[in-house]
Point group: C2
Chain length 145, copies 2
DNA sequence: ATACATGCAAAACATTTGCATAAGA
DNA sequence: TCTTATGCAAATGTTTTGCATGTAT
């Protein structure tokens, strides 16, 4: 988790550049995002941050999430049945594999995607700037239930 | 629009099989979905159905949308900024190419997708039942502005 | 000192639900 | 007739907003 500290410092520097204030709540929320590999929801981050900062409000979490989205340091993963989920480790578009049973989300390696995107840009004439690719299915564990 | 009538009859037959009742509201909502190529939202359908059936309630539209989703005759397109959008003409997962300039949505042909999905199912062990693939970009017309 | 962030509560949305009444089969 | 659908209003769940107070700079 040494990279996490580096990344944290980078993001804090970026916030300072923007004249945003470095508050304990923001640092705590950031650390939760950087330390989570499971694409947490706002509610989950809220529950987690309250362990160390019990007075934190849900509104502050939402505001911080909005800020981090704005500066491109977390990625919002579309509505997966109810609320949004977020990725603080790979804040750029990438595919997700979502289990509809246990709601887990993993990041599969889809090596054909770049080729597919390039091909589409060429045939359509669009300048493609972003994408969202989500697969929904049943994970091996849930298949046994 | 001859295919539309055929498709409408098919869906009505399917509803009868399920012992669902064929009400004027349901028929009207169905016709709106089948006649729309622009991926309408619930609000848009509601506004449209009220032209001919002014007493129709929003709840009825939502209930009908739920029913049509259930029987697989319309496709829900994920939360693209606010509310859901629906496709009544191709009610199976397929890619979208969305222009962020003019908000138009087209259905590109992405022939590599099936191969990509099959490969992912094999390597991940998931039983993949659905997917969502949206590309965001600038269409040729908007690039000139 | 002075912006800006926090926390609370209320508002804003999209969607769902309960229930009495209306209407299709 | 007998069940299901409608329409209304209230409830739900998520996210946003206004504002007084607190706090980082």
């Amino acid at each position: 988790m040494k990279n996490m500290q580096n990344r944290l410092d980078e993001i804090l520097a970026k916030l300072r550049e923007r004249h945003c204030r470095i508050t304990p709540q923001r640092v705590a929320i950031l650390k939760i995002f950087l330390g989570s590999s499971d694409h947490p929801s706002v509610e989950q981050v809220y529950a987690q941050v309250k362990v160390n900062f019990p007075t934190t409000s849900l509104a502050t979490v939402y505001k911080t999430v909005h800020l981090l989205k704005e500066i491109g340091e977390i990625l919002e993963i579309g509505c997966v049945g109810g609320g949004n989920r977020y990725d603080g480790n790979k804040p750029y578009p990438h595919p997700h594999l979502i289990c509809t049973g246990c709601k887990s989300i993993i990041d599969p390696d889809v090596h054909l995607l770049a080729q597919l995107t390039a091909e589409l840009a060429k045939t359509s004439g669009y300048r493609i700037v972003s994408h969202q690719l989500d697969f929904f299915g049943i994970c091996p564990a849930c298949q046994k239930r």
